[in-house]
C-alpha cells in the first residue's frame, strides 16, 4: 500500500511537470486568443476530473444506500470534497480566461453553468454533512447525493435549451482542435486524474484514521464506569 502510494506520488509529480511543460511550450499558440488560451489546458481537464469525481460520489452513495458500507460512505465524502476543489478551479479559470479574451467575467456557457450548479449542489452536500445532528448522517448525505445526481441531466437540458435561446460566447472554444492541442489536453487530463487520485487516497486514509480515533474515544467513554 505504502509503496503504491509513493509510486503514484512520484508519477503524479512527473506527469504534472510534463503536462505543464506541454501546456506552456509544446502546445501551439492559439491564433486569435494568444497565450491566454493556454489556461484551457487547466480549465477543461479540471472540469472532466470534477465530473468524474461526482460520478464516483453518486456510485458510492448508491452503494451505501444498498449495502450501508462504511467504505462507500468515506469514498463518497472524499470524492465530493476533492470534486468541489476541482470544480472551484474550473470556476476560477473560466473568468480568468474570459476576461482578457471576451471582456466579460462570466458567461452562461453550458459547461461553466453546469459546473456552477454542480458546485452549488456539492457544497450543499458538504454543508449537510457538517451540520447534520443525526446519527445517520451518511444516510442523509447519500440521499442528497442521489437527488443531486438525478438533477444533473435536468440541469444539463435546461441550460442547453436556455443557451439556444440566449446565445453566448463559448469558453473552451467550439470548432476543431489542432491535434497537437488535443495531445496536450490529454496529457493534462491524465496528470490531473493522477493528482485527483493521489489527493483522494490521502484524504481517504486521513478520514479512516480520524474515524478510528473517534471510535477509540467512544470505546473509552463506553468503558467508563464499568464495574
Amino acid at each position: 500500500m505504502k509503496r503504491g502510494f509513493t509510486l503514484l506520488a512520484i508519477a503524479t509529480a512527473l506527469l504534472l511537470s510534463f503536462a505543464l511543460y506541454a501546456a506552456l511550450v509544446i502546445a501551439p499558440t492559439e491564433q486569435t486568443m494568444g497565450n491566454v488560451q493556454r489556461i484551457f489546458y487547466y480549465h477543461v481537464p479540471s472540469a472532466w476530473v470534477a465530473f468524474e469525481l461526482f460520478l464516483i460520489n453518486f456510485v458510492a452513495s448508491v452503494f451505501y444506500l444498498i449495502r450501508r458500507s462504511t467504505k462507500a460512505d468515506i469514498l463518497a465524502l472524499v470524492s465530493a470534497e476533492v470534486g468541489v476543489v476541482f470544480c472551484t478551479v474550473v470556476l476560477i479559470t473560466g473568468p480568468i480566461w474570459a476576461r482578457p479574451v471576451w471582456g466579460i467575467w462570466w458567461t452562461w456557457d453550458l459547461r461553466l453553468t453546469l459546473t456552477l450548479v454542480l458546485w452549488l449542489i456539492y457544497v450543499s452536500y458538504l454543508v449537510l454533512r457538517r451540520f447534520s445532528t443525526s446519527s445517520q448522517t451518511p444516510l442523509l448525505a447519500a440521499v442528497l447525493a442521489v437527488f443531486g445526481a438525478l438533477d444533473v441531466p435536468l440541469v444539463y437540458f435546461s441550460i442547453w435549451f436556455f443557451r439556444t435561446q440566449h446565445p453566448a460566447p463559448v469558453i473552451g472554444g467550439g470548432g476543431s482542435l489542432d491535434p497537437r492541442m488535443g495531445w496536450v489536453l490529454l496529457y493534462n487530463w491524465i496528470a490531473f486524474m493522477c493528482l485527483a487520485w493521489l489527493v483522494c487516497w490521502t484524504r481517504y486514509r486521513l478520514e479512516v484514521a480520524q474515524r478510528a480515533v473517534h471510535e477509540s474515544e467512544a470505546m473509552q467513554s463506553l468503558m467508563e464506569g464499568a464495574r
Binding site: S135, E217, A218, S221, L222, E224, G225, A226, R227
Partner: protein, 227 residues
C-alpha cells in the same frame, strides 16, 4: 398463555447507543418478562429515556441487539406499542377527542369504532370526552392523562411511559399510578421511567436501576438496591 410467558417481551443484549462521542447506552443487557410493571430509575444522563426510546423503535441502537415483542425489526411491533413522554405528543390546538380521532386513523381503528374507542379511552383516564377545550389549555395533569389515553388507544401489549408524573399535581399523579397498575393487571407489560418512584412503589413488580448507560441493579423493592 404459557407460550407468551416464556418469551421475554423485551430482550436486550449489549445495547450501545452513541450520539457522536457521547454514549447514552453503554451495554444494556437484560430480559424482561411479559405482564409486569417495571420502574426504571437513575440520575439524569443515566440513559433511561434513551433505553425507552430504543424499545419504542424511535431510536436505533448503534450496536448490540434488542428484541421487542419477539422481533428485532424496528417497526414490526408498532401496532402493539403505546408510548408516552414528558411532552404531551398531542396537538395543542385540537380538543382531546379530535386528537384521539386522528391517532385512531394512524392505528387503523375501523371508522365505526373510532368514536366509541376514543370515548372509552378518555373515560378511562377520568377526563370528559365532550370537553371542547383545546389540549393546550389543559392543566399539566389533564394533559398527561390525555396523553396516556392516546398511548392506550390501540390497546397495546407494551406500554412505555417516560416521566408521566413530571409537573403533575398529586391527585392526577396518584390516579395515573392506579391506571398504570390496572394496565399491568390487564396483562400489559409496562415500563415507566420516573424520578418519582414512590408513586408506583405499591404496584411495581421490579425496579430497574440505571447508571451511566448501564443497568446496575434490579430489585423487587425500592430499598433493596446496592446503588
Amino acid at each position: 398463555m404459557s407460550e407468551t410467558q416464556s418469551t421475554p417481551v423485551v430482550a436486550a443484549d449489549g445495547l450501545i447507543k452513541q450520539f457522536g462521542r457521547f454514549a447514552a447506552l453503554r451495554g444494556v443487557t437484560g430480559e424482561f418478562a411479559a405482564g409486569k410493571l417495571y420502574v426504571i430509575l437513575g440520575d439524569n444522563g443515566a440513559g433511561k429515556t434513551t433505553l425507552l426510546r430504543t424499545i419504542a423503535g424511535l431510536a436505533h441502537a448503534t450496536r448490540g441487539k434488542i428484541s421487542v415483542l419477539g422481533s428485532t425489526d424496528i417497526g414490526a411491533s408498532r401496532a402493539q406499542i403505546g408510548y408516552m413522554a414528558h411532552p404531551s405528543l398531542l396537538y395543542d390546538e385540537m380538543s382531546g377527542m379530535e386528537n384521539l380521532r386522528y391517532f385512531s386513523e394512524l392505528y387503523g381503528i375501523p371508522p365505526a369504532d373510532v368514536d366509541k374507542r376514543c370515548r372509552e379511552a378518555i373515560h378511562a383516564v377520568k377526563l370528559d370526552p365532550d370537553l371542547d377545550r383545546p389540549v393546550g389549555q389543559y392543566s399539566q395533569g389533564m394533559r398527561q392523562r390525555m396523553s396516556l389515553a392516546r398511548a392506550l388507544l390501540n390497546d397495546p401489549k407494551l406500554l412505555l411511559l417516560d416521566e408521566p408524573f413530571s409537573n403533575v399535581d398529586a391527585r392526577s399523579a396518584a390516579e395515573m399510578a392506579v391506571l398504570v397498575a390496572q394496565a399491568r393487571d390487564r396483562g400489559k407489560t409496562v415500563f415507566v421511567v420516573t424520578h418519582q418512584p414512590a408513586q408506583l412503589e405499591a404496584y411495581a413488580d421490579e425496579f430497574i436501576w440505571m447508571e451511566l448507560g448501564r443497568i446496575v441493579d434490579r430489585t423487587a423493592t425500592l430499598q433493596g438496591s446496592r446503588a
